[in-house]
Symmetry: C2
Subunit: 345 residues, 2 copies
């Protein structure tokens, strides 16, 4: 009793084969693009499939093929990951590409115990062909994943030498370009706000900053290097430290847009005008970078590409092709907006 097509009965491969006057094998071969069917028969079958608007039942395919066509996407349990505008865009890339390749992407929240998680359940039930993580995962998780031999890829890994397949952005380069832009605008006294919580991330962003600084033989005061940012509020405090130091810089490079937003808010609260008194550049180009005042000058990271590439790497693994281990997004495109003052103009 459905109204899908002309028929009231649900179609299946048997009915299609009867309509075509062939065996189910022939229909199956056509469906799966296998050879062993004459061109004439193939055409006839294809026509009927088209006419009847028939789609094979995924669940029986899943059963016999022991494949789920599901990719699990693991989000951090706390709301923050999804709230992080950065990953929203990545997810769009993931879903678009996954669907194109015939996968469903199913959402999953990270739980305390990996073993008892819905994800683990799914894997055991052949209900996940692969999994995608946003951000690096801990050793216990890696261990479990290895044990059960499930393909996975990590997006936006910060590790210098990741032990898993992942797609990452070149934050050293981004940081270099963002800092260099400040220098090109005539700034010589440039502070740094970064996040040391993830050491490898800290190192690459700081190295990018340092490279630009030392290239021009500039220097910085210890108080200008702030490493305890991890959200807007903590970045705010970093900025406070900078502004309370003996030497106030004319510009600050921030390792993420959200830190720049925190920093600008602090400058604002302490009576500084941005960018007149102090300039900001950063890395990420999340939507919020256009909502703040002044609008942020930042490095764009192609988030959709990150998501799409991750699916490609995962698909390759699922199909037993060993993909490259680490795919690096270039990320050297600066989006010039209003947060940097040109001192040399």
């Amino acid at each position: 009793m459905n109204d899908y097509g002309v028929n009231m009965e649900k179609l299946n491969i048997k009915k299609i084969s009867e309509m075509a006057g062939v065996s189910t094998t022939a229909v199956s071969f056509v469906l799966n693009n296998k050879k062993g069917v004459s061109e004439k028969t193939r055409k006839k079958i294809l026509d009927i499939i088209e006419r009847e608007n028939y789609t094979p039942n995924v669940n029986s395919r899943r059963l016999i093929l022991k494949r789920s066509f599901n990719i699990f996407l693991v989000l951090d349990n706390d709301i923050s990951t999804l709230e992080n505008l950065f990953y929203s865009a990545v997810i769009n890339g993931i879903v678009g590409k996954a669907n194109k390749l015939g996968y469903n992407v199913v959402l999953s929240l990270k739980t305390a115990s990996f073993e008892k998680s819905p994800l683990m359940q799914a894997i055991k039930q052949n209900n996940a062909d692969g999994v995608i993580f946003l951000q690096d995962i801990d050793n216990e998780t890696i261990y479990e994943l290895r044990k059960i031999k499930i393909p996975y890829v990590v997006i936006d890994s910060q590790k210098a030498n990741p032990e898993y397949v992942c797609v990452k952005s070149n934050y050293e380069l981004s940081s270099y370009v963002a800092t260099k832009y400040l220098i090109d605008c005539g700034h010589k006294r440039i502070a740094f706000i970064g996040m040391s919580k993830i050491p490898d991330f800290y190192i690459s962003t700081f190295n990018g900053y340092k490279r630009a600084i030392s290239e021009q033989s500039l220097s910085f005061y210890p108080d200008w290097i702030q490493s305890d940012a991890y959200d807007e509020t903590s970045a705010y405090n970093c900025m406070k430290n900078i502004l309370n130091s003996n030497e106030v810089p004319t510009a600050v490079f921030c390792a993420g847009d959200i830190y720049a937003i925190g920093g600008m808010n602090c400058a604002y609260d302490m009576g500084y005008k941005v960018p007149y008194d102090i300039s900001f550049s950063s890395v990420d180009n999340i939507t919020a970078s256009e909502y703040c005042r002044p609008k942020l000058t930042t490095i764009d990271i192609d988030k959709v590409e990150m998501g799409e590439k991750a699916i490609e790497l995962l698909d390759a693994q699922i199909n037993n092709n060993l993909p490259e281990k680490v795919y690096v997004i270039k990320s050297d495109k600066i989006i010039v907006r209003d947060s940097v003052r040109k001192l040399n103009a």
Copy 2:
């Protein structure tokens, strides 16, 4: 050749029944909590299931039950929906609750043609038990969904008289409370920024505003009622109109946080100090309302509850219980932050 448990071979219901010395029926009954098994047998079977860490294969269940245990979550094709911090929190509620009830939630992007969409494919293949939409859907979609008799629920519907099962927030009430708060702080000249793109949303927010205003016999100038906001930039322009009018208000109520952010940015750019010169209150309490300066005083909407309730309503439909048609979130809790000046303090 897997390492799941003690055995190298994959478990199935037959093996479990052999271990227990019973029939597969008994095991199946125990698995599905059906009666017809003696307490003793049940216990024995349960023990073995526990010991062997056995989980029944979902795909064969799906096949025979003609149920997918999948709920599709449809996101707007453009990046904006996921980027909208409001819905991020809703999604967390959805996934948590859905998993608790044994569903997977699979992500799906809205496509131009509903008929050819991955969602429609899934429905036809018995691969979706129900679907959840964020925001109202158009008549074509409603028509298609009705035709194929798939349960669905719409989250954050703005319609006054929705023709489908949905969960919505009481924006009239929220708007009233937010406006009333401005009045309680001594403001008498209060402007309004809203979005007329969705007429029913406009009406309820405007009505809430108007109710608070007229209760106190206050009045407003036509220029103070701006209805063309739909994002940060358009709200910015609305605010410009207000500030360029002959009479500048002391406060503005905005029908969404993002409009308040646009409005505050405009005030800032035009040399007004918020909240000293002009105050803002709004509705939504998205994360960004804490990142902007000053931090927004706004009405909290329980987004996680929205998501959870939607799943409950959907689950009820799937199980052939007719749920209430419209579930309304109350949303009258004001979060007082820094965007409103107390004139009477």
